[in-house]
Symmetry: D2
Subunit: 289 residues, 4 copies
């Protein structure tokens, strides 16, 4: 079913121990209030004795006002020990984009946003360089320059946290941002910082992955979108893709082909996150697509 | 052009420093003797100042007998400092297949051979187990059991070398053979031992790659065909491919999906090697496909 | 979750008008009898007001004997107007394979069967030629030669129906069988005859699709597994895949590359059908994979 | 080798009957004048007795001025009956973009142009609607509104030809332009009008291909970049790609997934054309990539 329905929807993300209780309770709750479900998917992990569900229904025709839903559902949830969160498709998450000098991912997300492909409010662009400032201006998004260096790193991160906090940011997208964030930022925005790494992780973690790939002589290159964690390039993977390369491809060709992958994989991951389709689970993700 | 022409062809693989000399000399040599070229491809590496070419032409209509070609070409090659090797498509390379307990790659190669897809003579099947013996018998290929253990490893490798040498083997295919060969074998058959690794190298080198992939939560799994070298899983890569997986896939599902990749990637690599389309080059390959 | 669990499972395929009734009833039925669900998926079609579900659970630990399940569930189903069918993973469907001269798909399915990849009993091989007879013998599957010609077509189809009926065949796989079956056969085995067409349907329906593809100059070739219907090449599609080709590829190369697609796509479709994962729905399929 | 070398290059596209003459002559010509070849590829068609070659070399170090090259090479070409054309990588082709209401392909090409990915001068944007005008303005490209209707069609085409002629346009890109051009335009710009069709041609030619695909229940959707010809959707194909879809995807989802394919396939085709890598050949293309 389409993620682009005209009418607003509600999304419940749920987890609990006892599957039976959850399935019956949620289905009963939504149908009792005349909800028209447009997406329902679930994942059971018998080893962890955990059951996770995503259910999305149209608000149109639902017989509870959106302010009432949380309260009403909480009665059900408390009884059965269900952990849950509730989201509305027309309440746009606030997003910060961070980039360094290479603007292709930043530009791609801004164009998608302008064309209505991303359900979000892009509230700020942050960079350690001035190069991408004109792009932010073009899309009327406030730009902030945080010129990170060894000396200014601490100060810049404090300013970054300030910016994110005062704008009440829901998601930070590292769109080829080439500075490492410290745990101070990472922990504060756990599972809300999304990064694109320009290789098929775990191959070629770390710096200059296209050079590494060229040196190793692989026949496919990749890109990986993942949540940033304290361990660099080790966070939960949301999406990956690859493209075929050959001995004819120079490092420059890998960069060019990789750029296409980076844009597509990052945009997919951002869309999945914004539509509440990604659940982090240990160091992995469940993607309800 | 098709690699499956009815009429036999000759293949020259060439490398030299001076591209100009080579292009002119080879094109002149073949046309002068009325050769009908069916494939010509080349690769130049300016950094290494090296030029590599593969040219294949029909023997039918060529005005030199196949016994005369080497001698005639050598006159040209010596003058220009060209290193070269000459192959005929109807002189079938002798191949040894090695497998352990999992027979899907072994079976796949034997069926392809029977259906005429591989230009080769499969001369022996070697295993450290007895499980695959009936399969070898079914295809009338001599089977040899080398029950490798810590104690027998040395002895088994000596026997293996003996077998390969006395059968005058051109190519050894490790079709999910789960023992590590020592340098004694590797060096003797340098760039003539082809292995399938059940991951997208360099990700998940070493043991149990599907378990590693499942644990890391990747969204694609892969398979890699490469030449075996002294460094485990570090040899020149010939081909790779991937398949999409999700949180729904258990390790068992990864194994099942991976099995498909392993068969396809290994078969492609074997075909490319047998048709003299792979040139090892540093720790990488040029694949003239 | 893996489709290859060691313990036997039951599969219910269900459809009804009222989603709410179905979800609650099925989940309640299975949990009440202590079923451990290993797969559950559903599809709602609001336009047709139809809800379709597949649910699979382990028989081990279920507190009804398998003979009792149908009767017990029927009470629930009748009350709610649910159409349903019940299957057990260890009751193997009987399969007939039909091929003409090209044996790669036939061979591939037989090898997969021998290696335990297909949950089925392959009961017969039927061909209009003698070429594939030795392959059937090798796998100890009864072979029947039906030499179809304009004159013998009627008689051959009668004999075919006789063979399928007396062997109580559940699925007929046209593994590159190059004769057109008439409605007499098609209708009798509706949605139980699975065909592989060697193109990306609806492109290049009809004869010699690789020649058509070569003539049109496409950059990808494909293969399509679908149920056979009275309209040739128009039946519900189960799976499709493509491979990249270029101007360098002759028709012979397309045939070679296409052969790989045909094997993989047909095997996937057969597996999906055998595991009761395909639901025909109008002229389309729902694939619960 | 990379298409993005810093130093300018010359490209020769050649065709002739006698391969031998051509290979020797071209290689001799370039090396004699100290050219450093960065790309050379060829295609032989024995049936048509035709040989086609593309060769690209660095102007830096070449001992002829670029004004002298054509004259010097013509001496060689005339002697051997070689048809040829000569191009310089730093002489930017002038491009016109045409779009209707959907701007994603237009926007994508303009962003790539701004980011330096396209070796071209984008000289105009033409549309039958006003919707895309602000986008053209944003990139400082002159915009022309040609409001095509049954009554104005003739007049609009005359104006279009005028615009293309007076701007001396080398390539017209139909970036989701939904009007059919008549032969008057097509013939005048033969093999210089590049179109993106939103299906995997020849499947779903004509209107509303995503609706057609949804109705047929295909498991993959595609996009096709081709040269426009008098026969709608029948022109020589340059590139194609596909994406996986399922019963879960609405027409809206196919449109969304297709949009990604359209952008990527069109951009690849435009780049290939601009780098003189596409040769039309009958109703097919040779792509020297």
């Amino acid at each position: 079913m389409s993620a682009h329905q005209a009418t607003p929807t509600a999304v419940l993300l749920l987890s609990c121990r006892d599957r039976r209780g959850l399935v019956a309770a949620v289905s009963d709750f939504i149908f009792r209030h005349r909800g028209n479900i447009v997406h329902a998917d679930q994942h059971a992990d018998p080893e962890e004795d955990l059951f996770i569900q995503r259910v999305e229904w149209q608000l149109d025709g639902f017989d509870l006002d959106r302010q009432e839903i949380a309260g009403a559902f909480n009665v059900v949830a408390r009884r059965l020990g269900i952990a849950w969160s509730l989201h509305f498709s027309d309440e746009l998450p606030r997003v910060a984009l961070m980039a360094s000098k290479l603007p292709h991912c930043l530009y791609d997300l801004l164009v998608r946003w302008r064309l209505g492909e991303l359900r979000a409010e892009i509230s700020l662009v942050v960079s350690n360089h001035r190069e991408v400032e004109p792009i932010a201006r073009e899309f009327d998004v406030p730009f902030h320059h945080l010129p990170v260096s060894r000396e200014t790193k601490d100060e810049c991160e404090e300013r970054l946290i300030e910016l994110l906090d005062e704008t009440d940011i829901d998601l930070v997208v590292l769109a080829r941002y080439m500075q490492i964030l410290t745990d101070r930022v990472i922990d504060r925005y756990a599972h809300r910082i999304l990064n694109i790494h320009h290789s098929f992780l775990p191959a070629f973690a770390g710096g200059r992955p296209y050079h590494q790939a060229h040196h190793r002589g692989v026949k496919l290159i990749g890109a990986t979108a993942h949540y940033a964690t304290a361990e660099l390039d080790e966070g939960p993977i949301i999406d990956q893709d690859v493209a075929r390369v050959s001995h004819r491809d120079s490092v420059g060709d890998l960069v060019r082909k990789g750029r296409e992958l980076e844009k597509v994989v990052l945009a997919r991951a951002v869309r999945l996150h914004l539509e509440q389709r990604v659940v982090v689970y240990g160091n992995k993700t469940i993607v309800f697509d």
